[in-house]
Amino acid sequence: MKYLDEFRDGKAARKLSAEIKSVVTKPWQIMEICGGQTHSILKYSIEELLPEEITLIHGPGCPVCVTPLELIDKAIAIAQREDVIFTSFGDMLRVPGSKHDLLSIKAKGGNVKMVYSPLDAVKIAENYPDKNVVFFAVGFETTAPANAMSVIEAKRRGIKNYSILCSHVLVPPAIEALLSSKNNNIQGFLAAGHVCTVMGYEEYFPIAEKYNVPIVVTGFEPIDILQGILLTVKQLEAGKIEVQNQYSRVVTKEGNISAQKLLEEVFERTDRKWRGIGNIPSSGFKLKDEYSDYDAEKIFKVENIETEESPLCIAGEVLQGIKKPIECSAFGKECTPERPLGAPMVSTEGACAAYFHYGRYRHPEPALPSGRLVSES
């Protein structure tokens, strides 16, 4: 099947692996900031094909994982209201708030629906005019245009009972925040392929220059990731600092102009708190004032949210790439996909979940010896 077969081909993978091994002469640390890439790296055990000089660090690329706890708690409070139908993509439903998650609210009778597209939520709003339909608008730049479109569509159709609870985050400010941190040891970046499909990659040139890091726009299949790593390593070995585009079959330098226009119409930049990391200035989107009728945070004034993170959860350090999930004392014990303490263990794109599902048998400590999860309670 086109794009799947050739980009998952064993022979091509071995060739790239050999080429990376022949080029590398010293240790390099490369970060990806994209949950889809993290997932693919773990799912295909890409590290097995890399020389030990290369360390892959998994950055905060999972939008589910970085959604602030306060917002999850707000979502849960809104979802419990009788007049609300709360809609969301699937993986947000299991993220633990301070006390519950959205799926358990559903089990108790809350009206929580999983949708594949925000436009499905708009349709629900049209079909249920006596209910307030809220869509949990989470994601990086990738999902923002569809969410913007849903608001524009709702306005165009005169639908007044639709709103979004917005938690969009942006990649370039996150890269800058990581690179300017004193703990930083990242030497090269794989930029998120689908974020760049929307936004293009012009924003990365000043970052590459300011922080002296090569940035390679990379896709998601194993061959894409190996090619992205090869291009990054070649630059590092040659002392070059460039922005390159490995994912050229989808990404252009300017990106998708129509999608960007939708974003400009509906959203403006705002400071955002990233769960586990903290506040990053100008790193998110919020709805513009002229669309405040569609802003769930303004419509549902949820007060007195007292958040409570698990003291055992080191999501922040995992998300910044400072620690690997297997270095967490709770990994595979108190924290498992069935009983997640933090978001990275919930989302299939979270680093902790990816390690647990695909790779823990290679790291028998501190996970269970058989690699099998059996509840001890």
């Binding site: 081909d9 799912k43 295909y44 699937g90 089990a107 994601g139 999902t143 048998y361 099998r372 999860l373």
Partner: protein, 355 residues
């Protein structure tokens, strides 16, 4: 006159309820993954506890006089009730037939219990019944007893069907997940994920150039042609809810063995692959209704494969892997790029990803 009923709490109800992370049953408890497994073992197995249940097989197997019988039950709650390739009726018969086949039994008799929501069109019920009649004919079973209940509108989801089945096991056949041992070969009868994606496409209104159709079918012929290998057939399982991955994980855990399978040997239709990519789903975890796994002694593996490939429902059969002694309880897969990764037990429902 009002009657007072004395309930004997001395057995069971006085036991402390097993500690659970959940106060309520979640949809995920029915997903066929770890949460289902936990619910079933902590609540049902622990209380119903007996030697038949503890085999943890799809069917209970027992001796009556000189005959070995298999007995199974399954309930069908699929939505929509009519889907590309079939409907809930045919599914209900084929599913129970296949559970008996997976126990090594020739299916004989089926019961059918209906819970019907008020308002279901009689015409729809008729189509379901005809489908069950046809499925019974194809698989050679008789529907010999049943029950019908109607519930108020809004209290059921159009129709739920429970089928139970009895089959007879030929002498020499001894199938149990515990018989799975290091060195055995794992054979899969054909391509995966058709059924689950057909349902999802119908439910979500997704359309493809070539329609994806459920693979629901009775699999008796796949047992008939390999009965001659007797007790060299160690395990059989139909990978329904939870998919191929869940079935293999269950067997690996019960038998305390490892498994190594090859991604390249597992066949998936291009349209199904495409649908999984769009929705962010892993085909290994998607339900099948017309596929069988056989785990057999390596001496007979090639011959079993030859026999299956002669049959319509086994013509795409492949040896997809083997049972190992490494990483007991864990299924490992060699990926298309030559690396290895775990094929884990899914915890609950597979949730389509955000981006």
């Amino acid at each position: 006159m009002k009657q007072n009923y004395e309930i004997d709490f001395s057995t069971g109800l006085s036991c402390p309820i097993p500690k659970s992370d959940y106060e309520h049953v979640l949809l995920a408890h029915g997903g066929g993954g770890t949460l289902s497994h936990q619910l079933i073992s902590k609540l049902f197995f622990s209380q119903f506890d007996n030697e038949f249940l503890n085999e943890q097989h799809d069917s209970a197997i027992f001796n009556i006089d000189k005959s070995r019988l298999a007995f199974t039950t399954d309930s069908y709650v699929v939505q929509p009730i009519f889907f590309p390739g079939g409907n809930i009726g045919g599914l209900a018969v084929n599913g129970t037939v296949n559970d008996l086949v997976a126990a090594g039994a020739r299916p004989l008799y089926i019961s059918a219990g209906f819970i019907i929501e008020e308002g279901l069109l009689i015409e729809d019920l008729w189509k379901i019944v005809l489908s069950m009649k046809e499925a019974a004919r194809k698989s050679g079973v008789k529907i010999v007893t049943g029950d019908t209940k109607v519930v108020d509108k809004g209290k059921g989801d159009k129709i739920f069907i429970n089928t139970s089945g009895i089959g007879i096991i030929k002498e020499g056949i001894n199938i149990s997940p515990k018989r799975c041992v290091h060195g055995d070969k794992i054979i899969l009868s054909g391509r995966i994920a058709d059924h689950g994606i057909a349902i999802m496409s119908a439910r979500e209104g997704l359309e493809f150039e070539t329609a994806i159709v459920s693979d629901t079918a009775p699999l008796n012929e796949l047992l008939d042609c390999i009965e001659k290998f007797g007790d060299k057939i160690h395990v059989m399982r139909d990978p329904t809810r939870g998919g191929l991955a869940s079935s293999l994980n269950e067997i690996a855990e019960i038998a305390n063995v490892g498994m190594l399978i090859e991604e390249e040997k597992i066949s998936i239709l291009d349209e199904v692959k495409g649908a999984c990519e769009i929705l962010g789903l892993d085909p290994l975890y998607i339900a099948n209704e017309g596929k069988m796994i056989a785990i057999v002694d390596k001496e007979v593996a090639d011959d079993v494969l030859i026999e299956w490939r002669k049959k319509e429902l086994g013509k795409e059969a492949e040896i997809i892997g083997e049972v190992t002694s490494e990483n007991p309880g864990t299924v490992v897969m060699k990926t298309t790029i030559g690396s290895k990764r775990i094929v884990d037990m899914i915890s609950g429902e597979q949730l389509p990803r955000i981006c």
